[in-house]
Amino acid sequence: MTSLKIKLAGLALAFMLPLTAVARAEDMGIDDPQRDAYYEALKGKKVVFVPLALGFDLTDGWYASLKNQLEPLGVSVDVRDPNWSTDAGSRAITSLIAEKPDAIVVHNPDVQTYAKLLRKAEQAGIRVLQINMKSAYATDVFAGADYMDIGRRAAEAVVAKCGQGTSGKIAIVQGVPTAAASAYQLRGISKVLEKHPEIKIVSNQAADWDASKARAITETTLQQNKDLCGIIGFWDGMDVGTGAAVKQAGRDKDVFIVTSGGGGKAGCDNLKDGVFDLDISYDVPGQARDLANGIKALFQSKSKPGENNYSLYTQLQMLTADNLDKYRNFGACWTVEGLASK
């Protein structure tokens, strides 16, 4: 009897063991109390991106990466492409104010044009984030390059190359002079150069972000100044023209070219080919992550749109032909396909 009881008990135990094991697995670890709120805050939200235009590395990169980071969380990411028209951009933002998406990401053509509209959008309860190019009106989040710092770094690099024992002559190839990127960068450069009287700016011209114009300007400058030592260009997409002119003149070994850009594959290729010597990268994948995190934080925040202003300046990368392999591990030399398919 007893032995039967024991046997039965043993059998019952044998059946219950896996059950208790399952019960224990349910109890393992602890619940993260925040995660439900996080997913809930993001789910079903709508973000609209208003770039200067799609179709070039910076804007395509931001857009692809935003979609990649936010869409799996149930956030829809759309774009209104004004194709370089500030009028079309203003109209897009105006109609968005009526449509009331949860957030707008704006890429400003200059510091003034969208300022009033951005304030109106915030008053209408829309979160407004600005990417890389600032408006005079500060909104919830600005994520982007500190162009004054880019100017400072570019000028310091040129000062280091074009000091004692050289002609000290440098040229500046600006983009569109009214763009924030040009104006702030120029100030950064001049703050450094005023401490270095040995450096002479022999040419300071605007090439409208156009490679052909940059090439024509640089050719003429090189003709006039056979001993030119350095060039600061304002965007690597434009400065392929600057570099082509220097190469054509056979001066690519002794003219130091600094430029800046998003750190994409084209910039890296041009560094490898010796078109530029230094490309100060504002790390588009990093900026896109800052932007996505800004959006996530704002959607969880209880503050009103425009109540706080956060500036998230990008950590810059000083890309040269020699350190590309190192920076590749930190997102440099990215492609849009890569950002879209992570």
Binding site: Q205, D208, D210, S212, A216, T220
Partner: protein, 336 residues
Amino acid sequence: MAAAQGPRRRFKASHENIVIAITVILFVGFSLFLNGFLTTGNLLTLLRSVSVLGILGVGMAVVVISRGIDLSLIATLAVGAGVAIVLSRPDGPLPGGLPFWQGALLGLVFVVIVTALTGAIIAYADLPAVFTTLAMGSVIYGVGRVLFLPAEANYLPESATWVFALGRGQLFGIPISIICFLVVLVLVHIVLRKTALGLFIYAMGDNPVAARSAGIPARPATVVIYVFAGLVAYFAGLLTAGAVNNINTRMFNSTLIYDVLLVVVVGGIGLSGGRGGMKNVLIGTLLIGTLLNGMIILNISYNEQSLIKGLILLLAILVDTILNPRDEQTSQQGDI
């Protein structure tokens, strides 16, 4: 032309001569007062920087002489060259990419198709050229961007060696792009002056109705003219790509088309058609080139440059209007 028939006729104060005079004054002034302007190196740089503009000017001039206008030239330039590049890039839509000459051939076919369509609409549907080409510019740009060119900047594949040579090479110390400009200029000059097609073009521009009554095949000739302008633009696009490594479709949004019109109009080819020739394109190109080059050497700021360009244009038009006042006949010719 009553005013020109007075005693002033001795000075031959035509538009053309005025522009030549302005160019010469600028040129001599820069030579005297600007160190390093009058050097072989700088003069070659000057010419090279406007050779693409000059080539586009040739295409536009032929259309304008036939009493048309082609505002879609820049779209054709950017998209045509872009298609050639994208189809022959290893990472393009075609796996591995075509050899560059095949891509270039397909770019050419694309340009012929769209420009023939433009010409046919103008010739057979009798739509005004200015609106047709304005719309076709957007169509060409849109089709190009949607079907072939998702990115604005399209870098030349390394296999495109002859395009690099066109854009950057030199022959006897002269940049090849300058030689290209001069060759196109001379070829078109011969076509305009020595061939039946040239005769048709002037006749159509001078009086389209009379030209048609005289038995000139005006409609097919119009199609040929627009295709020709498109091919010139395509060639200019390849030159541009060779010079700066890539073609950027954003050129379509730039003011380049107005610069091309400026070269043609300042050079003295009236928008009412039937007048002027390749000499005027050369003069207009040289004036713009001298002006731009001098202002870069002087390191004049962006805004001042715009002001000076505007003032010189205004001066050219003003002097022309005073010396060659409009009369009943010329003002009726349908200026734009």
